[in-house]
């Protein structure tokens, strides 16, 4: 994907989302590395802090893709997190990660590979997560699942269509 395509996609998808009233939204913040060539890498951070002290944050990191594979960028790492907001804030005003504060769900690809954190268990790898491709996780579907969970109480496994196996 090219940076400007990504930015356009973000704007379109973001405009479809209806957030709860009185929440605090930060971003989506995007950062190309160069301009006007918009060379990768680029990043995106977006957070919503709810009135009850819960929040979600979505972070994506896109890296250069070799020209023989089409050039542009590919999403190498990301984290989608929903849980209790710690009082600390990063430079963007997004709640800083503090493991003392409960994580409800977190979907990640970092240097340890695709995994989720769910129901108090950390680093559940892809082979134990059925019917859901972590690599293909969509930030707006995640945000929608958060809003639906808050509205209906339906668990994330049902909302996102996955099963965690032992």
């Amino acid at each position: 994907m090219r940076y400007l395509e990504y930015e356009q996609w973000l704007q379109i998808e973001h405009s479809k989302l209806i957030l709860e009233p009185l929440c605090i939204e930060i971003g989506p913040l995007v950062a190309p590395t160069t301009s006007p060539a918009y060379q990768p890498p680029w990043n995106m951070d977006w957070a919503v802090i709810f009135q009850d002290g819960m929040f979600f944050v979505v972070r994506e990191r896109w890296y250069p893709r070799k020209s023989i594979f089409g050039g542009g960028g590919y999403r190498k790492m990301f984290s989608f997190h929903y849980g209790a907001a710690a009082p600390g804030r990063d430079r963007d005003g997004i709640p800083a990660r503090d493991k003392a504060y409960q994580t409800i769900i977190r979907v990640d690809i970092d240097w340890t590979g695709p995994h989720i954190h769910y129901l108090g268990e950390d680093h559940i790898p892809q082979p134990r997560v059925r019917d859901f491709s972590i690599s293909d996780a969509d930030p707006f579907r995640f945000a929608t699942a958060v809003l639906q969970n808050r509205a209906s109480g339906t668990d994330f496994a049902a909302l996102m269509g996955f099963t965690v196996t032992p």
Binding site: E7, L10, Q11, H14, S15, E25, I26, G27, P28, L29, V30, A31, P32, T33, T34, S35, Q39, P40, P41, N43, R59, R61, Y63, P64, M77, F78, S79, R97, D108, D110, W111, T112
Partner: protein, 90 residues
Amino acid sequence: MSLQRRCLPTIGAVSLQLGELEHRYGLTSDVFVLHDFRSSHVDEDDGMEWLYLIEQLRVLREAAVGDLYSTGAESGPLENQDSSPEQFAA
């Protein structure tokens, strides 16, 4: 809220952010990448940001070197480019 572009990164700003992470964890970036990062206790978000900043710095340095060696280039080093934030309506 609408989509917002951050300021364009500069080599100096990215280096400063890397230095903050190195100081926080008591690791140099070389050690983090080459030796320790798979087994380190670096927070996942910090680690993701750390690796991203290293990649960003690599690209910025390559672009700066390209500018130095190019002839008739219209723009100077990346640090001198416009870094004003841009706001977009969603």
